[in-house]
Each structure stands twice: as C-alpha cells, then as structure tokens.
Symmetry: C2
Subunit: 314 residues, 2 copies
C-alpha cells in the first residue's frame, strides 16, 4: 500500500488547479468570540458540485493513462462523489458510469444525469452495488474510482488543506470530518508533511464512530448500520485510509447529534453560508471541547453544502 | 430636500469603512449559463448584522455632532435597521433606543437587546410606533434615525454600489431591491455619479408595487397593506427617496412571488449562500425579463441574509 506524502498532494494540486475552485477561507468574529478561539473555515461547500469530492475525482480522472481514459470510469455512490466523478469525467472528455441505488433521491439522480453520466440503478444494498459495478467493469473495461479507497482520490482531497495552509500558515490545529477517511487521510498527509507542530484532528459523529474506535484500538472496526444526521459520514475507513490516519492524525473526537445540528445552525445563522450536516462536525468538536481549543488558531474544513432544504434537521 | 451626489457617498464610505465589511462580489458560472448573462452578486448578506442596513446606520451615527452623540439615537423598526442601528451605536459609544412592536419575533428582540440597545415595546401599528418614538425623543432628546427617509442613511446605503463598481467597473446594469427606497436611491446616486452608461434598475415585488406605481405615474403612491414573502420590502417610498429615484433610476421592474421564491432557492442551492427573500427580487428581475439582460454584465445587490429557518417559503 502506497501512502501519500506531501509531494504527492502538491503534484495533485498542480494538476487539478485549472479545474477546481480555490475556495475561500472565511472567518467570523462572532463565532471567534463565542468559542474563544480563532477559526478559519475552508469553504469546500463553494467547491464545484458543492463538495470537496470534486478535488479527488478530478485528480483520479487526470491520473488515467490514455488507454484508461478511453475505457471510461465507474463508481458506485448516491452522494457527492457520484456528481463529482460525473463532472470531472465530463470536463476531461471521459465517459462516466455511475451505479446508484434505485431509491436515491430524484434530485441526486438528476444532478448526476445532468453532468452527462450513464447511470445504472441497482437494489439499495452494498452487495448489489458492488456486483453491478463489477459487471460494468467487465463489460466496458471502465476503471473503478472508489470514493476514498484510492491513492489519487486521497491526494486530491488533501489539496484543500494545502490551499488552507498556503493562505494561513500559523495554524495550531486542522480539523476535518471523517467518514470513509479520504478527506482526513489526505488532510493529515498534507499537514504532517508541512509541519510537525500543527495538530491534525478528525471529527466524527458518535453515532458512526468506526474511525474513533479503530484509532483507539489500533484495529480496523467498521460501523454496522450507523444512524446520523451527517449523511456524508456513514461509510467506514478502508485499510488504506486507516493506515494513513494512524500514521498522521493526532486525535479523533466524536460529537453528539445535537452538537452537529446546533453547529450547523450556528454557521447558517452567523456566517450566512449553507453547509451540510457533515461539515458541522468540525465546529462541534470545538464546541464540545472548549478547554482544548481556547486561544488556539484552528483551521476547519467545511466539506460540503448539499442539503435537502425540505428536510432540515432544525 | 438635499439630494445625495457621488461625492457624498464617497465621503460616507471613507467614514464608515473601518466599521463595515467590504463584502465579497460573488459569481456563479452555473447561474450565468442558466440566465445567459454575467452576474456579479454584491453580498450584503455577509455584512455585519446580516444586511446592508449597517452601512446607513453607521454613517448616520458617525454624522452626529458631539452634542447629539450624548443624547443618543432612536428609531422604530422590527427589522434589520433596528439591529443595525443598535450595533452601530454601540460600536461608537452612543446610546440607542429602539421602538419595537410588542409582537416582534423573539429572535429579533434578542438580537437588538444583544447589541445593548434600550427597547421600548408598543402596540403593533404605525401610529403607536410614531407616538412612542416621539415620546422618547421629547424625554431624552435622542436623534431620530429613520430607516430610509434620512440623507446620511441613504449615503451609507450607496456605499455597497460604490464597492461593487470599484471591483467591477464595466457593468451594463446594477439592480437593487426597493422597499422604502434607501438602498435604491443610494445605489442610483452612486452609479449615476460614476457613469451615464450603466443602467440602474429597481426590483420590487408586484405585491408591494408602490415604487413602480409612483415611478410610472410621477406621483408618490404609498402601498396599502402589501402582502409579500419579501418582508424587507413592505415599506413605501418617502418624498426624499422618491425624488432621488426619479432623478437617477432608469426603470423599476415588478416580480411575482413565485419568481422571488424560485430565485431564492436557486441562490441557496447553486451558490450555497443564505439570502433573505427581499434579496432574491434582483435575480427574479433577470429571470422574468431574459431578453432584456441577455449577454449583459449585471451587478445585483443582495440586500441581506436574515431568515427564519423554521418558516421557509419553499
């Protein structure tokens, strides 16, 4: 298993930067006063397709050989990665096949279809997804771009932290959400490569705490049927993301559902930006551990802003 | 009646700029493609207190004489102007008295109280508001800062357009919402002072179309009990704002309630920023008049982002 280094993330950034948004780093005096620390929000909710996932998907597409490009790419996802891969593929003239559960929300189906991907529907379970994906790969030779268990995807996700530290180089800590671990492992490889003094922390819903349990026990412990409002963080670490996280991450904090919802509302109300519940976990870590972060400069990666406005948690 | 000129707005900007946010000008390739024109959104939803009103209130407070400062300021408002005046006064060590209807939403009462203003509650009608304000003025000598029928307030509101044109000087048109007309008159005085070639357009809900009717007829026609989702635009023009608008504005377009709601949702979904319904009127003008704006560069002033998330119109 190859573990990404800072130089891999720097190379990824050079490749993808004509395609991605260099998203703004926002601050809020109100929230700084409220939490007693200095917060720097890296706004991946403003990224293309509304999530950091576009970075990794773009890097994966740009890493294909000419032969592979002709075969196209495939993934199974009902979330942000599906839209991200569909758009990244289209922008680079590569065919994308997306396997989606037949019960995926219409708005997500439309988004992926709107980016010109071929959608194959399957039964809404992991086995059907993987089987359908395998059949497409056999039939078309398409290259699998896994949402997080993929070296190039991880390097792409790490570029958000790279931009954050280019803009703000005196942070004490960087906090990123952790689901499957693509964002946190990319972030941690980047930050650790730049400095030993900046802490890297993962933010995870207590209701989907496989990364926390794996991190503490040193043994990969996948989640079974987790239930959390942070619907981008339901997936479990892979061997690859777990290795990177063990090597580079200083700590993982779990946060309660109420904290996630409260922090999501705080960011909407005070900063006037739309973030999805998964993004709010990073601020929830600050909220639940005020003594740890008091007086510190913290970089918080807001992972995305794709929300169903008809089904808000508050 | 003194009518503001560009130089008045430039002076206001020099005074208030240490206190206000120079808010970002955002763009969205998706919305540009959707509407077939180039849109530049001046994001006053990111202004302090979440609305452009902080500009005018700050300029009014900074325009007080030393004697007036000691007496304090007073206004009657249940909306963004109340919070804006309360904060502007506090930041400058001036006492603020705010007259609010007793049925104002708790969240708005708390916001104003949180900025340290003295609140006096009154019956929820115009007569009680004015009478209560008059009593406070008599008792304390406090200076009335009207939400829009005030030269210094209007000059402050015009500074949003000044910043927009400093950043983007080749616009074909600038569109601002119109309620009482403080923002539109300040905007129009600024734009007209800078160039004769840039059109200035007002955006008004068809359900609260007093400015449109006044503009067309040449005679001030106040609204009677208007009903619109754009709750920041319920007020009617004053003689002062009407004079400025007649002199400088090229056209006023009315927009339907459905268009306001659709455009609010479009901005939330596509730009991931929170705007209030009043702000969406400017995009609704583009939506309802595609032929007028096709291929044009349009500056749109998003007036604010204070929304009750438990009572969304979509």
């Amino acid at each position: 298993m190859r573990i990404p280094e800072l130089s891999d993330i720097q190379s990824a950034w050079e490749c993808i930067k004509p395609y991605i948004h260099n998203t703004p780093v926002m601050t809020s005096r109100l929230l700084n006063d409220y939490f007693g620390c200095e917060l720097f929000f890296k706004c991946e909710n403003f990224q293309k397709v509304g999530a950091f996932k576009f970075r990794g998907a773009t890097n994966a597409v740009l890493s294909l050989t000419a032969k592979e490009r002709n075969k196209g790419v495939v993934t199974h996802s009902s979330g942000n990665h599906a839209a991200a891969l569909a758009l990244a593929a289209r922008m680079n003239g590569v065919k994308a096949n997306i396997v989606m559960p037949e019960n995926a929300p219409v708005v997500k189906k439309n988004a992926v279809a709107g980016y010109g991907a071929d959608i194959t529907f399957c039964k809404p379970n992991q086995k059907a997804r993987e089987e359908t994906t395998r059949i497409i790969m056999e039939k078309t030779g398409a290259i699998l771009v896994h949402p997080y268990d993929n070296f190039n995807v991880i390097c792409g996700q790490g570029t958000a932290a790279l931009e954050l530290l280019k803009e703000k180089n005196d942070l004490d800590v960087v906090i990123a959400p952790v689901g499957g671990g693509g964002l946190l492992s990319g972030t941690s490889a980047c930050v650790r490569g730049i400095s030993d003094k900046i802490l890297v922390i993962g933010a995870e819903p207590a209701n989907a705490d496989d990364a926390y349990r794996s991190f503490i026990s040193g043994k990969l412990c996948p989640s079974m049927d987790p239930q959390t409002v942070a619907d981008g963080l339901l997936t479990s670490l892979s061997e690859l993301t777990f290795s990177i996280i063990r090597k580079n991450v200083d700590n993982i904090y779990t946060v309660r559902e109420e904290s996630i919802i409260e922090c999501m509302l705080l960011i909407w109300e005070r900063m006037k930006i739309i973030i999805e519940p998964s993004s709010a976990t990073v601020l929830a870590v600050i909220k639940e551990n005020p003594d740890v972060f008091r007086g510190k400069k913290a970089g918080l990666i807001l992972s995305g802003g794709n929300v169903d406005f008809r089904n808000l948690p508050f």
